[in-house]
């Protein structure tokens, strides 16, 4: 029974996840367009090319910005919401559901909305700023190359904050309530309770969520790509978007399949290194309760 129960899942998993992942390593050593031409062995050629590719470095910088700046904003908001939701508000479940809501909506739907918000001249943001009399701010073009990345980040953080709130909140809810009550009786403030009780008690949850966020930031395609639309600005490239464009192109196909896959392999190692680093940096004795 064990074999029969495991076989279908294992075959699919091996065939369409593990095998292509391994194949990626092999493919990344070739130069090929995939269509009938014989792949040319280039060894680590794709990787050396990658190291001197300014577009790739720009994409890596964007990725780090998402990971660090977006991460600080996302986790800052998630901590704030966890703290406030656990301070004895009524309607906690309703608020939690509404904060999480953007996560169940198609990314393209969300990016379409944010595109309209940041649209030059007619956008919702410009319209609000005009109504507030902030004409100098209203004349800023939010989708101009120098601003578009941060405009994208606003939408991204908006979604992510809800996702990490429910994870951190779930951790905080597992902390025994008598600890909170005792602290509250002693006169601890909401912030003190969060910093001195919740945070240390859910340290392992924080670590997991940080790992999740980093993995997410490294492989992110959908949100910035859809936000950029056709002819996506290079300022929105993440390594994974660059991978897609080198592999499949936008208007004009590129089909640099080997090079594209090399970017994927780089992402894989980035993921590994980040997980190991995070585990090392955040290693702390687990609090037992």
């Amino acid at each position: 029974m064990v074999v029969a129960f495991l076989a279908p899942a294992l075959i699919l998993y091996l065939g369409l996840l593990i095998f292509p992942a391994l194949q990626a390593f092999y493919l990344s050593l070739f130069e090929t367009s995939g269509f009938g031409d014989t792949p040319t062995w280039v060894g680590i050629g794709n990787y050396t090319r990658l190291l001197s590719d300014p577009i790739f470095w720009g994409a890596l910088r964007n990725m780090s910005m998402i990971m660090v700046v977006g991460g600080v904003a996302t986790f800052g908001l998630a901590f704030l919401f966890t703290m406030l939701l656990n301070s004895g508000l009524r309607g906690k479940k309703l608020f939690r559901a509404l904060i999480f809501l953007p996560n169940i909506i198609a990314v393209v739907a969300i990016t379409t909305f944010w595109s309209f918000v940041f649209m030059p001249r007619y956008g919702l943001l410009t319209s609000v700023l005009k109504a507030l009399g902030l004409t100098s701010l209203a004349s800023i073009s939010w989708t101009a190359p120098e601003n578009v990345f941060f405009a994208m980040m606003v939408g991204l953080v908006w979604i992510s904050a809800g996702f990490y709130t429910i994870l951190i909140l779930a951790g905080a809810d597992k902390v025994p309530t008598d600890m909170y009550e005792a602290a509250r009786l002693e006169g601890a403030s909401t912030f003190q309770i969060f910093r001195l009780i919740t945070l240390p008690m859910i340290w392992d949850v924080i670590l997991i969520t940080l790992v999740l966020w980093s993995i997410h930031a490294i492989k992110i395609v959908e949100f910035p790509y859809a936000f950029g639309g056709p002819n996506i600005d290079q300022n929105l490239y993440t390594p994974a978007i660059y991978l897609y464009i080198m592999g499949f192109g936008q208007r004009e196909p590129v089909y640099a399949l080997g090079y594209s896959t090399a970017i994927g392999v780089a992402l894989f190692f980035l993921t590994l290194v980040t997980i190991v680093l995070l585990r090392f940096v955040f290693k702390r004795e687990r609090v037992e309760y």
């Binding site: 129960f5 279908p8 369409l16 292509p20 493919l27 904060i99 909140l169 909401t190």
Partner: protein
């Protein structure tokens, strides 16, 4: 004492303001899109905050028929439902033996499946495209479904294992003593007990695959195969040439988001607890 109370009141008010304001924005986001989808383009740009008194239902007709969102809706529905059904068929039994079976290498195999959650999906773009093309499943909804199933296995098994592990073992032993075979124990005892867990995994995957679009972008090509997300993306692309029918676009956006919002209204508790179970076990 009085001063203390007002301070607390102020703090409480601040909490409601922040949390309530953020929550209200989620509601605003949905309502604004729906209202935008019922406006004429002139009003959408001229009066973005107005409420359409005379709703332009024609936007939906145009999007559903002329822009083929009816077909895309059907494609999305079929791909998503078939994938979720197939996914449950393969991952429920696997998770069951991984969580309750007794055989050598069980833990190792379980970890091996979990490893799949850490593989960045873009790494698989090119290899999957090549594999699907060689198997003559490129640019087909069948091919896309198979890939969806395979790539959803690690998360699904991980969450399902948790559900199976949480079931009491007394019933299992009782059934065995009564002479049930291993399969009968699974089919008639454990499966019904795991029902809520399986439903949770089904809903989470349904929403996830309904909204998915990077793999469909890589694997699909023909217009007739488009899912809703791809339909919206291609509509945006075509708007570059034909001028912006943003109202029609927002009708398309409403079509893609209404099903998951309805599911969320009915099942938000279950969805949230499923996700937190997967993330914070």
């Amino acid at each position: 004492m009085n001063k203390f109370l007002t301070l607390r009141g102020a703090k409480r008010g601040f909490s409601y303001l922040v949390v309530g304001g953020w929550s209200a924005f989620s509601v605003f986001f949905i309502l604004w899109i729906i209202l935008a989808s019922l406006k004429r383009n002139r009003d959408l740009f001229g009066k973005p905050w107005s409420i359409p008194i005379d709703p332009a239902w024609g936007n939906y007709v145009k999007t559903w028929v002329n822009n083929r969102f009816g077909d895309y809706f059907l494609n999305s529905l079929i791909v998503t439902s078939v994938s979720v059904a197939a996914l449950l068929l393969v991952s429920v039994p696997a998770a069951y033996v991984l969580s309750r079976g007794r055989f050598a290498g069980r833990q190792a195999l379980s970890n091996f499946f979990a490893f799949g959650m850490g593989v960045p999906i873009p790494l698989l773009f090119v290899p999957l495209f090549v594999i699907m093309t060689t198997m003559r499943l490129g640019d087909s909804l069948t091919g896309l479904s198979i890939v969806y199933v395979a790539l959803s296995i690690p998360f699904s098994i991980y969450v399902l294992e948790g559900f199976f592990a949480s079931l009491p073992s007394e019933l299992e032993s009782a059934a065995i003593i009564d002479g049930c075979s291993d399969f009968q124990v699974f089919r008639h005892v454990m499966l019904p007990l795991a029902g809520p867990g399986i439903a949770t995994v089904a809903i989470l995957n349904f929403v996830g695959l309904w909204n998915e679009y990077q793999l469909s972008l890589v694997l699909l090509n023909s217009p007739e195969n488009r899912t809703l997300s791809l339909g919206i993306y291609s509509l945006i692309t075509s708007m570059q040439y034909s001028g912006g029918d943003w109202a029609g676009l927002f009708a398309g956006v409403t079509i893609v988001m209404v099903p998951t919002i309805l599911l969320f209204i009915i099942l938000s508790e279950r969805m949230i607890s499923g996700i937190t179970m997967g993330g914070v076990k």
